[in-house]
Amino acid sequence: MIALRNGGSARRSICMAAIGLSIVSTAAWAESSRVTVIRADRLYLGNGKIVSPGVLVIRDGRIAEIGVDTKTPDGATIIEIADTTVTPGLIDANAAVEASDLLAPDRRMHPRTWHDFFTPGHHHTATPDCCGSTCPRSMQHVSGTRCMACGFPEANTENAFAVGTKPRVSLAEQSSEVIPDTLVLDTTNLRSPDFDRLLRGGVTTVFVSSDSAAVIGARGAIVRTGGPVDRRVVRAADAVKATMGTDPSWRGGGNRPPVRRFVSFRNRRPTTRMGVTWVFRKAFHDTLRHRDGVETYGADPVSDSAIAVLDKLLRGRIPLRIQARTQHDITTALRLTAEFGLSFTLEEATEAYRCIDLLEAAEVPVVFGPIYVRARGDRRFSSEVEQSRLHTFKTLLESDLMTALTANELREEDGLARQAMYAMRFGLTRAQVLPAVTSVPAKIIGVADSIGTLEWGKRADVVIWQGEPFDTTSRALVVLIEGEIVLDRRAG
């Protein structure tokens, strides 16, 4: 394997095997197929190899050839930009996608949850010139008059610009703590501009994970970030996400003990970590008893449809992901899964640096991120993030664990690429970081056979970066999904 490097003759190396294969196989392709040829100074294949300078031939949405000086077929679309690098499309294995267009009129004009109601900054923060509002009557907005269409001035247009923070309304169903029968896809707005932002950051495929408000949450979805809306869903119902720690207690409205409160389903577990563990354990116990024909019983019964999913989970037919941040929660997750013989992927893993040995022993894949020192968004209110370290990702990557990097809800200008940039600042090389945002997440979410690296026959999800990827001054110029250009910033 040849390490990625910025300069030197090593990068002129060639991925021989792939090319050899491709030359033989491409003869079989029909002449009428759609061909795109990308010429770049560097091809980072995502598996540790580089071709420099390189040519990438895409035929019918698949990678057909990778070479140094491949002949250009007739009628091919040629993309050739000076000083560019080609990488596989980045994969975010734990993306939180905004449920709806935050620039749209605020759907929280009628607060429907207490969480909405008490969220700071919700009331009267709009400015009289609420430019940027998509309210159909925005031109009629007058200070002091309530807009009938969008609720102005209550609608929080100021916050609408806070791109990259998690929506403050919980996306997880809150009528129960065990909701593996719901789908994240149903709460995901495939038309959300957040997908465009992901695309601008070079991310072509995301695993959208469930909100952390439920102990056993919804099933995530694997979604492409570009292309026609009806073709974006790769897998509608994928891994179930469970959450350890304090999030299930307070996110999405907040559970509370039934003292002097009106009767509500929120008077329920969990309000502590004990409660979380209890709910988790009971759900799987109920499932096991259900197999013996014993109906679910006791407090917080698990619905039949949930049990059907949990049963598959126990049989290993559905993957499990667990969000745990603190060392304590990570060990709890390890303990609970060991009880039921489950294997899982760890999400967040803020304090993983403290229990690398345990994780290594359990061979848990980790989707780490985002890298932060002071958390933003909803994490800010969590007590679980105080011990975050900038070196955690480096520690994970240098361990035996399969580690992917995610930007989660952070978009900013370049999202996941910026996370990779952080990783490099905090002690890693580009060659180390690139797989953590391409091939490794592909393996973790189970799509490595079709994407994640630039190899013959794989889907042509490709990013063309200006200069080197993850440089401060570079950005994704062109993004292709299945060989089709979905983002083109060549014009500027």
């Binding site: 620039l103 940027g132 509002s133 932060y372 958390a375 070196h391 002690g427």
Partner: protein
């Protein structure tokens, strides 16, 4: 080679004393006072080496506030220590600093051409030579910075984060001075130093009509006095409505303030004239208009009251102003009000990101601008529904307007670095030179300090950074910071940073046994000391030091009991 013996002995190389204890960290940079003979000011009061650190800690407690850290029974000791220290400090201020030569580095002077390999000579706090062939005096400390980049200290052109509260509730408060609110213990200052910001323009925030006097400080020093580079710098004015005001009220309030100033001056003049007549035992012999006219000449600078003193300076052009305009429509008002009242020529516009639409007016006014920390303006077209994103600095760069960038403390990790903000500009098509100027010389010029700060030129104050690489590369770290020619920060000694980066265990190796025991005890009791010790949330270099995260751990801090125990010999 940059050894303790050369540079201040065991005490003066302050960055060697980083620790996880917040009070110490805050204190140490402030103890860095330029001294002629490189003798640490506190060595004279250090009775024992092992006890020294605790002495320092207690001093910090005293400086920051006894209600937080101090313990009553230690007050007397602290007071003595403070007094001694203070005396030494004041005697040290103004004393010529040492000579330092930074050799072998790539010099990016911002003003002037880059020097691939050169030397920067610092003598007595000033840069005295820059170039390839610099003769290094025999008594200068030579620091080899080969492979590194020497860059002028960056300047934060507009920040309220060194204040405990960013704004007064009253709308018109020209009598306020940030001097009274600067909190030298704020974590922000430490972060600023670590991020390479050597000058901060501390100014009240935007929620005002007329704010108060600002000042330029460097991020080290025990008191605002020690920190101050220049003061008063400017008066803060906001054209954008203060919270609770609408635009009409805001503008009316501004207009009213200046009209009232005229009335006040007339009245004062009349009184002065009458007084002068009374002194002479004469009776008023002229009409009121003439009396006012004559009275104006009699007014002494000391006659103005607090409410009006600074406004008079402003309107007479003796003081510059920073005028906040959040939206494009505010710019026109700002220009008009400034011109009407005579302070236009020394005004700087502080713009919100939406104000880029008024770039034409800004350009026509010829005044420099401080841009919003949020560099991208997002807007949805109400008709087509299309979302557009405008990179604001590019607009101003294209128009040729002089601008300065602010760090964005509310954004995630990267944007709080000024040099990262500049590199974003380059990514979005602004020239490299313009981007570099916008974080160094441009803010210096806006603060009327262009002749002292903002570049590496002979004669300028030696606020110099040693970077590991190009300032616009995100993988670059600030290795060393020199303020007034004295090294104020060294990354190798930044223990907290090392903790975050995993280079060093959380416990700090202590020289003294007593101290060591105490430290470990703290670490082992997370319940008690967790927050105060935690570098994660509240002590990080990424911390924006907002009020909450800054204040909360302090309340939990255990106070000086155990610490004080170490002070006793």
């Amino acid at each position: 080679m940059f050894g303790r013996t050369r540079f201040g002995g065991n005490g003066n190389d302050i960055s060697g004393l980083w620790s996880s204890e917040r009070s110490v960290e805050r204190l140490i940079p402030k103890r860095l006072i330029p001294t002629e003979n490189s003798v640490d000011c506190s060595t004279s009061i250090t009775p024992r080496r092992t006890g020294r650190r605790w002495l320092v800690r207690s001093t910090a407690a005293g400086a920051i506030g006894c209600h937080r850290y101090g313990v009553a029974k230690r007050r007397a000791v602290l007071a003595t220590v403070l007094l001694t220290c203070g005396v030494t400090v004041s005697s040290a201020v103004g004393a010529p600093p040492a000579k330092v030569a930074l050799t072998g580095g790539r010099i990016i002077p911002v003003v002037g051409d880059e020097i691939a390999t050169g030397t920067v000579l610092i003598e007595y706090g000033k840069i005295t030579a820059v170039g390839t062939n610099v003769e290094i005096p025999y008594d200068a400390m030579e620091v080899d910075v080969s492979g590194k980049v020497v860059f002028p200290g960056m300047i934060d052109p507009h920040s309220a984060r060194a204040l405990d509260v960013p704004n007064e509730n009253l709308p018109v408060t020209p009598f306020l001075d940030v001097y009274d609110a600067i909190d030298p213990s704020r974590l922000y200052l430490e972060d600023a130093l670590r991020d390479g910001i050597t000058a901060i323009h501390v100014i009240v925030a935007n929620n005002c009509v007329i704010g108060g006097l600002s000042r330029v400080v460097h991020p080290i020093g025990l008191t605002p006095d020690e920190m101050t580079i220049a003061a008063p710098t400017a008066l803060k004015i906001s054209v954008t409505p203060k919270r609770g005001f609408d635009r009409m009220t805001q503008i009316a309030k501004l207009r009213e303030t200046f009209l009232e100033l005229d009335d006040y001056l007339d009245k004062l003049a009349e009184e002065k004239y009458e007084e002068s007549l009374e002194e002479k035992d004469e009776k008023i012999d002229v009409g009121p208009e003439e009396a006012i006219k004559r009275g104006h000449e009699l007014i002494e600078p000391t006659d103005y009251d607090d409410q009006h003193r600074n406004l008079v300076k402003l309107t007479r052009g003796d003081m510059s102003s920073f005028i906040y305009c959040r939206s494009a429509g505010d710019v026109g008002h700002a220009v008009r009000i400034a011109k009407d009242n005579g302070f236009f020529d020394r005004s700087v516009f502080v713009l919100g990101h939406a104000s880029y639409k008024a770039v034409g007016e800004v350009k026509a006014s010829g005044r420099p601008v401080v841009l919003d920390a949020q560099l991208v303006h997002r807007e949805r077209d109400p008709l087509t529904g299309k979302l557009s994103e405008t990179f604001v600095p590019k607009v101003f760069a294209d128009a040729g307007v002089m601008f300065a960038l602010q760090p964005n403390p509310n954004a995630s990790l990267a944007e709080r670095y000024l040099n990262y903000q500049a590199s974003r500009c380059v990514r979005n098509g602004v020239s490299r030179q313009t981007a570099l100027e916008s974080i160094t010389i441009n803010p210096a010029k806006m603060l009327d300090l262009g002749d002292r700060l903002g570049s590496i030129e002979v004669g300028k104050v030696a606020n110099v950074l040693v970077l590991t690489g190009d300032p616009l590369d995100f993988n670059t770290w600030v290795d060393e910071v020199y303020i007034n020619g004295i090294r104020a920060y060294r990354r190798d000694d930044d223990v907290r940073l090392k903790q975050l980066l995993g280079d060093e265990p959380p416990e700090v190796a202590e020289e003294g046994d007593e101290a060591k025991g105490s430290e470990q005890e703290d670490v082992e009791r997370p319940g008690k000391n967790d927050k105060a010790e935690s570098p994660g949330k509240s002590h990080s270099p990424g911390d924006a030091a907002d009020d909450k995260s800054d204040e909360k751990p302090a309340e939990n801090a255990p106070g000086g009991d155990e610490e004080g125990g170490s002070v006793a010999p």
